[in-house]
């Protein structure tokens, strides 16, 4: 609960989020989304929500990213936007 930390991580979260939706390579976007989730997980850990952070680390940053990668593998990697 140190607000400087919070704000730094929050900024990183937002940057990752924007990056994830603006990268044209979908595999890159998936990985950036993983990074976004991981930043989010850090933020929540800092805010004292350890269980939620744990879940986000395993579900959001872990399995979700794998799902994205698998889906991108099965479809196409490039995106027009």
């Amino acid at each position: 609960m140190i607000w400087q930390f919070d704000i730094i991580i929050l900024t990183l979260v937002i940057i990752c989020g924007i990056a994830a939706i603006s990268v044209r390579d979908l595999l890159g976007a998936s990985i950036l989304f993983g990074a976004y989730s991981f930043m989010m997980c850090l933020l929540w850990a800092v805010m004292g929500a350890v269980d939620v952070a744990f879940t986000e680390a395993s579900v959001g940053a872990g399995v979700s990213t794998v799902f994205f990668v698998a889906a991108v593998f099965r479809t196409s990697r490039s995106s027009k936007d």
């Binding site: 744990f54 579900v59 399995v63 794998v66 799902f67 698998a70």
Partner: protein, 276 residues
């Protein structure tokens, strides 16, 4: 489309900014959210359920009904992926690729051809195959047992530390997925077949809902674990604690199986032959 998007985003943001002004300041421990209901949990959860991790206590007991459906949602995702993607008919024309391990020569076996299935020297490969990375393969082999052990710890220790059925289940599922990524889909499917995954997924939720229904049979309300004390020699409080553990195990079984199941279907686009 962009203009619509920007307008709706601007509208949403404007409304939210307007309302945020009325929020209690961040971290205010006297705000309604932090006083009305939650105090009860903090002060009584240990007495009621003997579970120090408040999140677990509330998750699996006070709001166990929510969590039952949360697990069901996961099961639905698994069912839906299977329902939407699974294709039982093999691709036409069908051919399989085998690689001679020593020389690296690839054999293409057309449909009906004799396959070197029992040969030690050939290994089946995917059509989009890249040479295995030794480091990844060996490292994952090394890590997976520990990860699985950790997953079991997380499940079992959810009463006292962060974690529980979901986290442990996901980690356990992730180990199998890791196996599939590091080797190939078939080697993972040899460990956990699709049928086993599907059965486990349903069985996990069934454990949860079954414990709840058992409580009804024992004279309590649905999911009222204290009723289990009639069956076992527990005090009602300990019955709740053990009930929570049972439920967490059900969740873990279901979640891990569903994660694997979804991965199989997504990565192989429903054919379960070749995958990421």
């Amino acid at each position: 489309m962009k203009s619509i998007a920007l307008t709706s985003v601007a509208l949403l943001c404007a409304v939210l900014i307007y309302s945020t002004m009325g929020f209690p300041a961040w971290g205010d421990s006297d705000s309604p959210a932090s006083t009305h209901v939650s105090d009860y949990y903090i002060e009584n959860a240990v007495n009621d359920t003997a579970v120090p991790n408040l999140v677990t206590a509330v998750l699996a007991d006070y709001r166990g009904y929510d969590t039952l459906f949360e697990t069901t949602v996961v099961l639905i995702a698994g069912l839906a992926c299977f329902f939407l993607l699974r294709r039982f008919k093999p691709r036409q024309p069908q051919h399989r690729l085998y690689r001679h391990i020593d020389t690296g020569i690839t054999l293409i076996i057309e449909q009906g051809g004799k396959e070197p299935t029992d040969s030690e020297e050939f290994v089946r490969i995917d059509s989009r195959w890249v040479p295995y990375d030794l480091v990844i393969q060996q490292a994952s082999c090394l890590v997976i047992p520990f990860l699985q052990l950790f997953a079991l710890y997380v499940i079992a220790h959810g009463h006292h530390s962060p974690g529980g059925g979901f986290q442990g289940g996901v980690i356990f599922g992730a180990t199998i997925i890791l196996m599939a990524i590091a080797n190939d889909l078939r080697s993972a499917a040899r460990r956990v077949s699709e049928r086993l995954g599907a059965l486990m997924a349903s069985a996990g939720v069934l454990i949860y809902a079954g414990i709840g229904a058992l409580c009804i049979l024992l004279g309590g309300s649905f999911l009222d674990y204290s009723a289990l004390s009639k069956l076992f020699a527990f005090t009602p409080v300990m019955a709740r604690s053990h009930g929570i553990l049972g439920v967490e195990i059900g969740v873990a079984v279901a979640v891990s199986a569903v994660m694997i199941w979804i991965y199989y279907n997504l990565a192989s686009a429903g054919r379960h032959e070749e995958g990421l």
